[in-house]
């Protein structure tokens, strides 16, 4: 019954960010452009909340609103991984 989205574990890398996003959106690997607006690809509040929780668990400081303001794989990689 669970379509629990962000089930992946381990350290956060650019590759994992992309994979997690593709997984919650049900997109095949490699289907998303770096700069695609994820809201147009079906990202909603619940999916985003799941990602935030799972990435926080991996040890990064982030929040829902920060990610919501720039919804693309490229921006999130920068926001989550750059110091």
């Amino acid at each position: 019954m669970s379509d629990n989205p962000a089930a992946s574990e381990g350290e956060l890398t650019a590759r994992r960010i992309r994979a997690d996003v593709e997984q919650v959106l049900g997109e095949p690997a490699g289907a998303l452009g770096e700069h695609d607006d994820l809201l147009d690809r079906g990202m909603d509040s619940i999916r985003l909340m799941s990602l935030v929780e799972s990435w926080r668990k991996a040890g990064v400081e982030t929040d829902f609103i920060t990610l919501a303001e720039e919804p693309s794989v490229a921006a999130w990689t920068r926001l989550l991984l750059d110091d």
Partner: protein, 502 residues
């Protein structure tokens, strides 16, 4: 009296708190009896819900489909004529129109129907529901509550025994005393309410037609809840020194309040007050802002209004009731399964419940503090800078009762509660200003509001509950309290965080 009937758990009260706890405990195969004084459906105030109840708890209860089919008015948030701006502004549940989601709305419910659905659902889940059965007193054995005496529909006194009693008997029940604490009443939220129902009444323009409207005027504020197309719930929240005036003339006080509040007066137009049936009377509630000093003792747990309530603004009562029902069920289930000690399980219950109460308390205090025309007594008395030291202390004790994660709220090394309230309030006022009026582009984007710490504080647990409701068992939920527990995979018990995901 014959030998007591035995159960695993006795729940007293069939409102949202009691039905939630009873259902989630019966789901684990335990024998649960629920005593309800009245015969349902029965009237209750508290009609405006939040998404965490609708999409989180109701999903867990397996009743979300039935709620959806009941035809309640959907609300996408609250609209407020409140603070400095003459134009109403919105507090929407979605971050933005683009980033809404399956949980970005809630309902306005007539509580007769809503509470009845929840209670019947509890019975379907195996709860032995006994209506017209009024709990009289707790039975204690040594230091422990071990049962309840009640009168059955025929007026016979009967005794029940159980490992746990959950008191969900609302603000009027008396069982809470068995937990050994007292109720501390708030000086700050010294409000009372007088309310009735109108046939028809105008609506805010779409898409806000289903929203609750809260509108301030000099002597208080009014709620305006579109219950059905042909029914509007209208209530005035006034200072408690108005009690005499209300006692002399309830209807007149309500009408005069409406006359003093332009936006509500205009919306109501010449809609007639309902004068017959359940909705036909003008009702009054007072002394409803309190918190118990103890939320549990061996054998008894207090949930919903039996434990605490803050204030009608922002529709938090049913959320706190269903949330505490969920927390209590997790703790009771964990103890019955012999997975956790009572101290550990109910420590988590009390810590989370007090945290939720405290974040809403702070939020609502900031809400009242937002700049109004301050020459009036009502609004002057609700500046947080005028908060009585009794309230500050009560708040500090309340939060200190919670686990250490929240010690930052009151710790000696941090700002005092007074400074804390003042800055929360300034943050909120500025965030509302930056958000701007309803139906402007900035007014549709809740980014500014949600970023204010006092708002993100109240949203965090509610969001988790919604997410669990929608996504099912979640793996990534970290402990909320330092050294605390996490929900088990099925959401109905607690687990040590280390055991999760291992």
């Amino acid at each position: 009296m014959s030998a007591p009937e035995e159960f695993d758990v006795i729940v007293v009260g069939g409102g949202p708190a009691g039905s939630t706890a009873a259902t989630l405990i019966a789901d684990q195969g335990h024998r649960v009896v629920l005593l309800e004084k009245q015969r349902f459906p029965r009237y209750q105030i508290g009609e405006s819900l939040l998404p965490a109840t609708v999409h989180g708890v109701c999903r867990l209860l397996g009743v979300d489909e039935e709620i959806r089919r009941a035809g309640f008015t959907a609300k996408r948030g609250g609209s407020f004529r409140w603070g400095t701006s003459p134009d109403p502004w919105n507090f929407l549940f979605a971050l933005s129109p683009e980033l809404s989601g399956p949980t970005s709305y809630a309902y306005q419910v007539d509580r007769m129907t809503f509470d009845d659905i929840l209670l019947r659902n509890a019975a379907r889940h195996g709860v032995d529901v006994r209506e017209e059965s009024s709990a009289l007193e707790a039975v204690t054995t040594g230091e422990r509550v071990t049962g309840v005496v009640y009168t059955d529909p025929a007026g016979e006194r009967r005794e029940l025994a159980a490992a746990h009693v959950a008191d969900a008997s609302g603000s009027t029940g008396r069982l809470h005393a068995a937990a050994g604490g007292t109720r501390q009443y708030s000086e700050f939220f010294q409000n009372l309410a007088v309310f009735g129902y109108f046939a028809g009444g105008g609506r805010l323009p779409e898409p806000d037609a289903g929203n609750i409207l809260c509108a301030a005027f000099d002597e208080g504020w009014l709620w305006y809840i579109p219950l059905r197309d042909d029914l509007t719930s209208v209530g005035a929240v006034l200072n408690r020194d108005q009690a005499g005036r209300i006692q002399a003339d309830r209807e007149g006080t309500l009408r005069e309040s409406i006359r003093r509040c332009g936006i509500v007066r205009d919306l109501l137009g010449d809609a007639e007050r309902v004068t017959e049936g359940t909705y036909g009377s003008v009702r009054v509630r007072r002394d409803y802002s309190y918190a118990g000093t103890r939320f549990w003792a061996p054998g008894i747990t207090l949930i919903g209004d039996a434990a605490c309530f803050i204030d009608p603004v922002f529709s938090t009562g049913v959320h706190l009731a269903t949330y505490s029902g969920l927390l209590a069920a997790r703790s009771i289930n964990s103890v019955l399964a012999e997975e956790l000690s009572e101290d550990r399980a109910f420590g988590e219950f009390e810590g989370r419940y007090r945290r939720e109460y405290a974040v809403f308390y702070e939020f609502l205090a900031a809400f009242y503090d937002m700049r109004q025309r301050e020459e009036s007594y009502f609004w002057k008395a609700r500046k947080v800078t005028n908060m009585q030291s009794g309230d500050m202390e009560a708040f500090a004790t309340l939060v200190a009762g919670a686990a250490s994660a929240e010690s930052a709220l009151v710790g000696a090394d941090t700002r005092t509660a007074a400074e804390r309230f003042t800055s929360a309030s300034a943050d909120l006022s500025h965030a509302v200003q930056r958000t701007g009026a309803a139906r402007t582009p900035s007014g549709e984007r809740m980014t500014e509001l949600f970023r204010a710490p006092v708002v993100s504080g109240v949203m965090s647990e509610m969001n988790r509950i919604q997410r669990r409701g929608v996504s099912g068992p979640a793996t990534a939920e970290p402990p909320l309290l330092d050294g605390g527990l996490v929900p088990s995979a099925d959401g109905r018990r607690w687990a040590e965080p280390a055991a999760e995901g291992a």
